[in-house]
């Protein structure tokens, strides 16, 4: 067997890396140039919206201002993040309903709640789907006035709206 040494290995590794980079850029040229022009975040947001429109067809959504208005008129706010994140900080008056909890049939919070109660569900930020998932599940349990607030906790907090640490 011909013996070769580690400098040769590194050279070959460099060559392979070069090949990989070349093919990667060739394969994903549109994405690279979108990124270069700074339009990648907007494009990704558009793709996400398109996916959600198919995946969560029947779910109503609200923006930050609409959510604020609903909050002021006493809608029930449901935080669909994990308990740790909820405990840290959440929208004032919100109840935590983490994704895992929906596996139990009777969620205590929902027992006896009128089906036409206005409910707003939110999660961490734009990219998370758990608010939409929770809203969909609530609808399937018969709640009629459910909306998912898509900006999430981050946008609410950044807008300086009321937040709380209490349970």
């Amino acid at each position: 067997m011909k013996k070769s040494l580690w400098p040769g290995d590194i050279l070959w590794a460099g060559y392979l890396l070069f090949l990989a980079a070349f093919f990667g850029v060739m394969q994903h040229r549109p994405m690279v140039s979108l990124g270069w022009q700074g339009e990648l975040p907007a494009y990704i947001a558009k793709l996400r919206e398109a996916r959600r429109q198919v995946q969560f067809q029947g779910v109503k959504t609200v923006n930050l201002l609409q959510a604020r208005a609903l909050w002021e008129t006493g809608a029930l706010f449901i935080d669909a993040r994990k308990p740790e994140e909820f405990a840290e900080l959440h929208i004032e008056g919100a109840y935590n309903l983490p994704p895992d909890l929906f596996k139990n049939k009777d969620v205590q919070l929902l027992v006896g709640l009128p089906k036409d109660r206005r409910i707003v569900v939110y999660c961490g930020q734009e990219a998370c789907d758990s608010a939409l998932q929770a809203a969909e599940k609530l609808q399937s349990q018969g709640f009629t006035q459910v909306a998912a607030y898509l900006g999430g906790f981050r946008a609410w907090d950044e807008a300086g709206y009321p937040v709380d640490t209490a349970q």
Partner: protein, 183 residues
């Protein structure tokens, strides 16, 4: 004589020769190497097929300027694909070559030790090292984000993916040592 410049290798080489002669151990090294390559190939393929999803994950790390996110998301999967593919291929050919030699076909010897397996192992070790550093930094910054590294389901950056990468780094380093023939 030049072994003196690489004392660790000189020390280990005799011991390594003994280990290599063991059929079970050398089969295991082929198996583990092929598995390591397959994991990286699969990881790269998955990212290649969902490029914008991966770009989103890259963006969430907030490490690169926006203008370079697309480039990173395009190149990284292909580095994984290339290194993984040639590693698997190299080990499969090694296995085929050895079987051929056992069957008395001397041409099988041409396959043994072929393809730049050690270079692939170096790339994979470097990737794992980069992932470990990036995820540790991300944890230290307190970002709770999707790691972009879940092979079968989405996962967040945390100790488990870091530990996985440490294991893969160790495996790649061990295989490199195993494959390294020295002087």
């Amino acid at each position: 004589m030049r072994n003196a410049a690489f004392p660790a290798n000189a020390l280990g080489s005799e011991f390594k020769e003994k280990l290599r002669a063991n059929f079970l151990l050398s089969s295991l090294s082929i198996l583990l190497g092929a598995a390591l390559g397959a994991v990286f190939f699969y990881a790269g393929l998955q990212k290649h097929l969902a490029p914008f999803q991966f770009a989103e994950a890259v963006m969430a790390y907030r490490l690169f300027p926006q203008s370079l996110v697309g480039l990173v998301a395009a190149v990284l999967p292909w580095v994984e694909l290339t290194a993984g593919f040639f590693l698997v291929l190299g080990y499969l050919l090694e296995a085929a070559g050895r079987i051929a030699m056992v069957l008395g076909l001397s041409a099988g010897g041409l396959l043994v030790g072929g393809i730049k397996r050690r270079s692939c192992l170096l790339i994979i070790a470097a990737l794992a090292l980069v992932f470990i550093i990036v995820m540790s930094v991300t944890m230290a910054r307190g970002l709770e984000i999707d790691c972009g590294c879940g092979l079968f389901f989405q996962r967040q950056v945390g100790p488990v993916p870091i530990l996985e990468n440490i294991l893969m780094l160790l495996l790649a380093a061990a295989l490199y040592w195993w494959e390294y023939a020295g002087e």
